[in-house]
Structure formats: structure tokens, C-alpha cells
């Protein structure tokens, strides 16, 4: 089974395009990623630039409209993700509970759609 951990950092919806995490936070994150890697469960992980550096594409009547970020109406935005392999939902949650996230950040855990055995 594969799970994605989606990190929703507080205030990231209005972060500057070139916002970077503090050296201390980055070091803790590296350490955490390493622990996942050493356990052989980490499949992928990445950090994402803030929405102010991104864009949204919406469709109406089959026509695409592109809107550059930031997005005024956005409340919770994604700051990064991890993909891990785990034997159960509980195991995935246990791994993700160990992530060094800041107060008020949210982690959303989602299971991958896979062909049933």
C-alpha cells in the first residue's frame, strides 16, 4: 500500500514566491526524510514553492483560463508531499506522526488508489 502525506503549512497561502524554510527547520526535515529512507519506506518526497509562484487553470465551456498565484480565496495550500510504502493505514499514520512540523501546520494522509488484490 502507498500513502501520501500532504503538508499544509500555516500561512503558506500568502508566502512570498521566494520563501524558504529556516535552516533549522530544513535540517530537521532532512533528518526525518533520512529516517524514512533508512527504513526503506520512502518512495518520493518534494517541497513545493508557494502558490504565489504558481498558477491555477480552470475550465468553463471547454475553455482554459490561467490565473497566476497567489490566490486570494485559498485557505489551506500544499507545501510539500511525501509518498511512502506501508503495510497498513495505521503504519502510515505512525510514520507521518513523526514528521517535524510546526505548530498549526496540518498533515493530510491519503491512501493511493490501487488495484485490489
Amino acid at each position: 500500500m502507498r500513502f501520501m502525506m500532504i503538508l499544509i503549512p500555516e500561512g503558506y497561502e500568502s508566502a512570498a514566491p521566494d520563501a524558504v524554510p529556516s535552516a533549522e527547520a530544513a535540517a530537521k526535515m532532512m533528518e526525518y526524510n533520512m529516517s524514512l529512507q533508512k527504513a526503506g519506506v520512502l518512495l518520493a518526497c518534494d517541497g513545493l514553492l508557494p502558490p504565489s509562484a504558481g498558477a491555477r487553470i480552470s475550465y468553463s465551456d471547454g475553455k482554459a483560463t490561467v490565473m497566476d498565484g497567489p490566490f486570494a480565496e485559498a485557505k489551506e495550500v500544499i507545501g510539500g508531499y511525501w509518498i511512502i510504502q506501508a503495510r497498513s493505514r495505521e503504519e502510515a499514520i505512525e510514520w507521518f506522526k513523526r514528521a517535524p512540523i510546526a505548530n498549526n501546520d496540518i498533515i493530510e494522509v491519503r491512501q493511493f488508489f490501487e488495484m485490489p488484490d
Binding site: K38, G40, L42, L43, R87, E90, E91, E94
Partner: protein, 426 residues
Amino acid sequence: MSDVAKTIEAVWKIESTRLIAAIARVTRDIGIAEELAQDALVTALELWPREGIPENPGAWLMTAAKRRAIDSLRRGRMLLQKHEEIARELEFQQQQLADALEHSLDQVIDDDILRLIFTACHPILPMEGRIALTLRLIGGLATTEIARAFLVPEKTLGQRISRAKKTLSEAHVPFETPSGDELRRRVESVLLVVYLIFNEGYTATSGDEWMRSTLADDALRLGRMLAQLLPGESEVHALLALMELQASRSAARRGKNGEAVLLPDQDRSLWDYAQIQRGMTALEQAQRLGGGAKPYALQAAIAACHMRARTAEETDWDRVVLLYDALLQINPSPIVALNRAVAVGMVQGPAAGLDALDAAATLAGDSALAGYHLFPSVRGDLLMKMGRLSEAREEIQRAIAMTKNLREQELLANKLKQIEKAALSA
């Protein structure tokens, strides 16, 4: 199972390896180490449902195991009886040992886990013992789970594990990372154990489950762990590459009704391209380390040839044959020769394939492999392509009688239908 019990099980799967490895550094006996770690788990099972799951469950288990271990050392009972070496140390400096344990458990280092893996895969043990111990101690699987995966009674599996622990203990197998030539030999044993686990998951040897993907996932996880622990060993990366590349085809290996779909007939859009990418990266790493011509690297390179082709027809079969030639030189096994014959059949036509297959069969001789269903199965396929239909039919019928795997039987039955159809239109 209650939510708390499920969480405890999950914590155990995550923490048990580090726990056992750290204790074993001091006890020097993985059997005793596992017992102590299990004691900590039992304590957790008693306390956590009542008092709630601690903030840092891993550290909690470590502390509980430490306390149990130090108690045992102080009383000297359990360890004194079980391990002479410990007993001797105990006699003359019991307190220091307790301190060492205290210190040891505070920081688990990678070497401990590596030692645990080398010990569980020690060549002194029969292969089935190595597999069971590895899944139990490093994979974090319960005895029931391993028994279910290998289709053996739980009791049998339990005995297999205790016998293996006893063998290690009686032979005073040192808890250490070997060096020099010995390291090479022991890495080979570890890789073989991991690959056998993978294959058991990827192609079940019996029963109606074509894949037991959880075992394959466990093997992949072990492979990734090893790549971190032994980053300089090219074959470790090569085995990981081989497993990732093979597993990337999982979703395409079964049709709508659960029937087996072979490589040439697979819908390649169902392959997991992220996994293929991981496999390719691991293969490149193996090659960068200078191990491109070693057995797992060659097998992974063959798998890579298949994965790079957008259609079966686009496969670089010439390169596949070359790689099999190289593999056959270092590993002249009938299975390798059999696979080479398939590739030769693709490059030079079925008649040449048949000649290559005869050579492979000669190599198999009277060994157990002579009874391997893929020999008549491939022969039947080649004969069918040559239009020798009645011979083809006989071969496929032989193959059906030789395999216990229901999915493979279905696959062969389909082949038989194709032959009948060809015979009718001929």
C-alpha cells in the same frame, strides 16, 4: 482488532528492528534480544489501552526494553542460563554491562541493524530459516503473517524460527559485520534471502494467488534499507533495481478476471513509471560503482531493456541476448539458458530458439529443474510458432501437469486453445 491494538502493531513494525538490533549489540544473541523486545511489547499491550499511547511510542518501547534487559542482567537469571559469554562478562562486571546497555539503547546506529541482517541471513542457517528470521526480525512481521505468506502452519513456522535462533546461539555466531572476502560471501547470502522473499511474493509457487504482493513489498523495503546501509556494494543497488523493475509491472500482470498476462501481452500503460524510474536510478548506481557485469546488474539490465520498449516488438532483443550471454558465462544455470532461448527465438526465429532451448535442457540434465514447467511451456510456444502443432500441444499439456500454480495452469490452458484454433484453420 481495536484501534489501540492496531496502532501498537504499527509502532511495533516500525520500531522492532531498531529495538532488537540495539539490544543485540549488548546481549550478542538475537534470540535473547528479541525476547527482551517482545517483553517491552507485552508491557505496551497491557498499559497503552488503559493509559493511552505515549507521545513518543518508539522511545517508550526502548525504555521499557532497557528496563527489562537491565532487570534481567541484574537478576542474572535469564541471561546467565542462556549465554555463557554474557555470563562470564556478568560475573566480573555486571554493572558495567548494565551501563553499556543503557548507553547502547540511547542511540541505535546503522551498524547494529546491519549486524542484525547479517546474523539473520547467516549461511549456517538453512535457507528457510534465514528467510523466516529476516522477515521476523528485520521485516517486523509476526509469525502468523510469515506462515500465511508461505502457506505453512503457524506452528511449523514458529519452530523454524526458534530452531534458527538456537542454531545461531549454539554456534556462537558473533553479532558483527564481516569484512574482506567474508563480507562478499555474506552480502551474497543476504541478497539471495531478499530476492527469494521477493520471488515468493511475485510468483507464488503454489495456490491460486498469482501474486502475494505484500511479500514483494517487504522485499523491496529490505532492498531499500540495504542500499542505505551498504551504499558501496553495487549488487545491493542492482538487486533493488531488479526488484523495482519487475514489481513495476504488477498491475499489468493480471487481466480483468485475475488471469495471468505475460510480458509481451501486457498493457504497458499500466506499468508504474515512477517505480521504473526508481529501478533505473538504482541500476545506474550499480553500474557507476563498477558492478555492471555482475549477476543482479545483468538481470536488472535485461529487465530495463523490456521496460524501455514502448511495445513488445520494440524490445532490443539483440541486447537482451547479449546480456543473457554475459549472465550465462558467470552463472551457467538452466534457468538463465532457458530465458536466453526465449530471447534467441525472438532475434533469430523459433528454430534457433529451439536449439538454444535444447542446450538449456542439457544443462538442466536430471536436476530438479528438468521438472520445471517453463521448459515444456517455452518449447510448446516455439513449436507452435514453427507450425508443429501436435508436438506443441503435447508440450503444453506436459507443462500444465508440471505446475501447481492455478493461474499458470489457466495461462497454459489458453495457449492450448490457441493451438487447437491454429490446428483447425490449418
